[in-house]
């Protein structure tokens, strides 16, 4: 299968879709394994919101691809039939869940970024992007609220919950630099979002008596299709059915 090359905005739309889908796939591993029934449902609800966002972006990406390249892509072909190097999600989305602390810290870092992103994309000149951002931000606002409260609860909780939260921040922080690095295909300058994002993170960390890491090495590559070793495993599980039984439906 040849690698797909798409023009300017298409790659950016795919990047937004891929990040939402891959994090949803990761979070879905908690389904039936949550720490308590109510939180199992909470993380699953967030996961379904992310899948909904991914679908909207994929549908739009498919329409852009089909109108410019004479192809017949759908949301399903884009999600299930692209290879590792074609996925443009942020690396933080593909990292393992590890434990509940990693899961909620990642959700907080990512959703806070999404919040700033959608806030900005609500003003985008592209009507479809504007509409998806306007719809998604209400969901994202809740994801931020939910995950921020968990970060505070664990960070300022017991010795063990604090230890786990510190480990999660140490492991995940190096993947936040990628939020704000621009690709030529980006439809907006994402580096502009950093200040508001960092303010939000700093406030919540302060309340959780956690400190914000400074001047550490930042990973990147996800937006270029260069991934960690974890993405291949996610895709092989997620895409198995469509690869094994092409076109299968239920």
């Amino acid at each position: 299968m040849s690698t797909m090359h798409f023009s300017k905005n298409i790659n950016n739309v795919l990047h937004l879709a891929d990040s939402a889908l891959i994090l949803a796939q990761r979070n879905s591993e908690w389904c039936a394994h949550g720490p308590i029934l109510e939180q199992d449902i909470a993380i699953t609800n967030i996961t379904l919101d992310l899948i909904g966002q991914a679908r909207n972006f994929y549908q739009y990406a498919a329409s852009l691809i089909n109108s410019t390249n004479q192809k017949n892509e759908t949301e399903d072909t884009l999600a299930y039939l692209r290879t590792e190097r074609e996925f443009l999600n942020l690396l933080i989305c593909e990292l393992p869940n590890v434990d509940w602390a990693h899961t909620v810290v990642r959700q907080f870092l990512f959703s806070s970024f999404q919040q700033q992103l959608f806030l900005a994309l609500q003003e985008n000149t592209d009507d479809a992007i504007q509409a998806i951002a306007t719809k998604s931000i209400k969901e994202t606002n809740y994801h931020v609220k939910w995950s921020a409260e968990w970060v505070i609860r664990l960070g300022d909780g017991t010795l063990e919950s604090r230890e786990r939260t510190l480990n999660a921040i140490e492991a995940l922080w190096p993947y936040t630099g990628e939020f704000f690095t621009n690709e030529p295909t980006d439809m907006m300058d994402v580096s502009l979002l950093k200040k508001a994002w960092l303010d939000k993170i700093t406030n919540v960390f302060l309340e959780a008596s956690l400190s914000v890491p400074e001047n550490i090495f930042m990973h990147s590559g996800g937006k270029k299709g260069v991934h960690t070793e974890h993405l291949g495993f996610i895709l092989s599980e997620m895409q198995y059915l469509q690869r094994m039984y092409p076109g299968a439906q239920w």
């Binding site: 308590i36 029934l37 109510e38 939180q39 449902i41 909470a42 609800n45 609220k145 939910w146 409260e149 609860r153």
Partner: protein
């Protein structure tokens, strides 16, 4: 020997000073308290009991209730109250509580002559 058995009805969960909660202490310490959830629907004026959730604090209880009981647009407002704060009537009191009302039909407003102009009554 005088064995004192206390029965707790729905919602009447004791705070402490009783055998039941002491013996279960090691177990209940790890469990979050139970909260009763009341939801007001779009059409309704009153909050109706929807069920219960476990949560560590009131804020978490509201969010858990949101996630568990309003996923299908059931509501626009949520109340939660810790289950131990709800006091229930005793089923054994049913006779003296409710029976006496059964032969007092005159308490229903059905003995008035309605003017013809009034419709939909």
């Amino acid at each position: 020997m005088n064995i004192n058995i206390r029965k707790f009805y729905y919602g009447d969960i004791p705070e402490e000073n009783n055998v039941t909660s002491l013996s279960q202490n090691s177990k209940t310490e790890k469990e979050w308290p139970l909260w009763e959830v009341f939801i007001r629907s779009k059409q309704g004026l009153d909050h109706k009991h929807a069920g219960s959730v476990h949560a560590a604090d009131a804020q978490m209880a509201i969010e858990n209730a949101r996630d568990v009981y309003t996923r299908r647009q059931e509501g626009i407002s949520i109340w939660v109250v810790e289950s131990k704060h709800i006091h229930a009537s005793n089923p054994e009191d049913a006779d003296m509580f409710y029976e006496p009302a059964s032969d007092k039909v005159y308490r229903h407003p059905t003995f008035y002559d309605l003017p013809d102009e009034i419709k939909h009554m």
